[in-house]
């Protein structure tokens, strides 16, 4: 007799084992390691959220305390390697294999454990790519999730930090897996239900509220005039030129500068209502002045940001909010929004080569990708037209082909030198060397050159759509690479020709007054200014309060 329900029986056994240290679904903090040892099996695929922002930090600490003789060879499949405990799992031999997306704060630890041989690296994914694999060949056996509150039935309320959880929990729960949730408190009635209780097997009230990584707060005080100059070029030379209404911004200072000059510089150009109205964007505090000045129609967010809760609640015309009034985020849906429903992605990077390939990997730093490769690519499945998309498509071909298609604008916004005079423009990406060192089948390139349509530096805009040969492309990139080695090795004649064809455009070609590249152009010059713009609804994290 064929056995078609072995997974469900295995699940029943795990639940029975876990129930010995639980009271119904409720587990005491002191019994949590024992619970995890009871419901997880060696070799399991496990997702320990591990998102971009919110962290199941108590469950991570409890799992890291497990006995490696009981729990070993786990295969970690989660988007974020963020906490030191995520690395500890490998150091202690509890986990062995890793498939992930993003490693921000642990970006220096990842290459270290790779070198030590304690991590077998599967792949570095984009978010929705990893979520997609949850439903095909990387389905978690156990998911350890995190919520603000739970009721006795195990229903979970996550508020603005819904993030990855619905995707993680659905994949796990519907394939006979076990779902354990860490919550800040038990409530009789939840503000809203983000995860239905019948998908949650065990709940533990953590001794401390869960940790949220503030990732998107950029202090306007640190924005430079170079960034303002490049921002003005992006607005005038790209946003206005193509009529970009639907867009996504990366999280760096360069794009924060754009957000802060919408109500000043772009207003002066008469662009209000014509650009930057609909966003797939995290709740960037630096967008507050543009929102308050009536620039923004709506924003859907991947995750939340520390200090933005009350502001978003009060601006439900702008943000997606639940019936309870609080914002609801979704990494899955927002990534899809960025992939299919925006006409422009603009973000920064650490290295760009002569083909326009870019990477944030350097010799001692593996930050992963997060969502950038997904935002920063042309979605070949897109079938709805829009003017910016069609214009970009037209620019990329000569003549009038029988079948035309559009192009998403993928813009890299950089300064030719990053901190400490490290050049951003390079002949060869460190990512390629890293792939050789660690024998990776695929070099971790963040955005492939053939997806990039424009590169903006303080020296100018290179429109790669208009390049017809590899040589033109190389010189277009060299022609805006400033005083880096790559920039200084340009063919000056060819660069001038490219400029005549508007493949390269400099600030003076765009009619930008260099004297406008001044900090007084920023609608807010400090975190305190942002707070004032928000009517004191924005509540900045302590580390950003310096007044």
């Amino acid at each position: 007799m064929a056995d078609w329900q072995s997974e469900q029986r295995a699940r029943d056994e795990r639940i029975a084992a876990g129930s010995k240290v639980a009271a119904g679904k409720m587990v005491a903090p002191k019994d949590t390691t024992a619970l995890l040892e009871a419901v997880i099996r060696p070799g399991d695929r496990i997702c320990l959220e591990g998102d971009n922002q919110k962290q199941a930090d108590f469950l991570a600490a409890c799992l890291a305390e497990a006995d490696p003789k009981v729990l070993h060879d786990l295969h970690v499949v989660q988007s974020g390697i963020v906490l030191p405990e995520h690395i500890d799992l490998f150091e202690k031999g509890i986990a062995k294999k890793l498939d992930f997306s993003y490693s921000g704060p642990q970006s220096h630890a990842v290459p270290r454990v790779l070198k030590s041989g304690k991590v077998e690296l599967g792949a570095i994914h984009t978010y929705i790519e990893l979520f997609a694999r949850y439903f095909v060949d990387l389905t978690p056996h156990v998911a350890l999730t995190v919520a603000r509150s739970a009721d006795r039935a195990g229903n979970l309320y996550m508020g603005p930090n819904t993030e990855d959880s619905p995707a993680v929990v659905e994949a796990t729960a519907f394939k006979s897996g076990i779902v354990v949730a860490q919550v800040n408190e038990i409530a009789d009635k939840l503000p809203r239900v983000d995860i239905p209780g019948d998908r949650v097997d065990f709940v533990v009230v953590a001794p401390k509220p869960f940790y949220v990584e503030p990732l998107f707060t950029r202090d306007p005080a640190s924005i430079t005039e170079i960034q303002i100059l490049a921002g003005m070029m992006a607005i005038k030379g790209i946003y206005a030129e193509y009529g970009i209404k639907r867009l996504n911004h990366g999280i760096g200072f360069n794009t924060a500068a754009i957000e802060l000059i919408l109500p000043t510089y772009a207003e002066k150009l008469g662009l209000k209502g014509k650009i930057a109205t609909h966003w797939a964007l995290n709740p960037h505090p630096t967008l507050i002045p543009a929102i308050e000045s009536g620039w923004v129609k709506q924003i859907h967010s991947f995750g939340s940001e520390v200090g933005m809760d009350a502001y978003m609640r009060a601006r439900s015309d702008i943000y997606f909010t639940g019936r309870d009034g609080s914002m609801g985020s979704s990494r899955t849906y927002c990534q899809l929004a960025g992939l299919y429903a925006t006409d422009l992605f603009i973000g920064s990077t650490l290295q760009i080569d002569l083909n326009g390939n870019s990477s944030t990997v350097t010799a001692d730093r593996i930050a992963g990708f997060g969502g950038a490769p997904n935002m920063g690519c042309d979605a070949h499945g897109r079938r709805h037209p829009s003017e910016p998309w069609l214009k970009a498509g037209r620019e990329s071909v000569d003549g009038h082909p029988q079948v035309t298609r559009g192009r998403k604008l993928v813009v890299q916004l950089v300064e030719s030198f990053s901190e400490k005079m490290v050049p951003v423009f390079v002949e060869k990406l460190d990512a390629i060397e890293l792939a050789e060192t660690f024998k990776l089948d695929l070099a971790p390139v963040m955005i492939y050159g053939d997806d990039v349509t424009h590169i903006v530096s303080e020296e100018g805009i290179a429109n790669l759509l208009l390049c017809r040969t590899a040589e033109e492309r190389e010189q277009a990139i060299r022609g805006i690479a400033g005083f880096t080695e790559v920039g200084r090795r340009r063919d000056r004649k060819m660069v001038e020709k490219l400029r005549e064809r508007k493949v390269i455009r400099r600030p003076e070609d765009l009619g930008i007054n260099p004297l406008d590249a001044h900090r007084s152009m920023l609608a807010a010059r400090s975190i305190e200014d942002l707070m004032h713009w928000s009517g004191n609804l924005y509540d900045p994290p302590n580390k950003f309060r310096n007044w």
């Binding site: 100059l229 300064e415 303080e458 005083f483 260099p514 004297l515």
Partner: protein
């Protein structure tokens, strides 16, 4: 330990405008102060730099040459008090300075 650099150029033409002097920027870490004076004959341009960082003379040379090529600051004597600024910042300041000199 300051390094002093001096470059002399012949620009394509005299910088337009009549303003005799302008100052832009501040001496701060990663920033610089630029003093521009219209005191030289028609196309002559001299740039003198005081910088706390040594070993970047090739970069300074390239930045100044590019500025003279693009802005044609004929007639200007330019004094830079550098606080360790990146070349892109230096270039922007120079361009801002010459724009200021052209402003009435």
């Amino acid at each position: 330990m300051m390094e002093t650099l001096k470059f002399s150029h012949v620009a394509k033409r005299r910088l337009s405008g009549t303003k005799g002097q302008a100052i832009i920027g501040v001496v701060a870490s990663g920033n610089l102060e630029v003093l521009l004076e219209r005191v030289l004959p028609e196309a002559a341009c001299e740039v003198e730099i005081a910088t706390p960082l040594t070993g970047y003379s090739e970069t300074w040379k390239a930045v100044v040459a590019e500025f003279v090529e693009r802005s044609s600051p004929g007639g200007l004597r330019i004094s830079i008090n550098d606080g360790g600024a990146r070349p892109d910042t230096v270039f922007l300041r120079l361009v801002q300075g010459s724009a200021l000199m052209e402003t009435e």
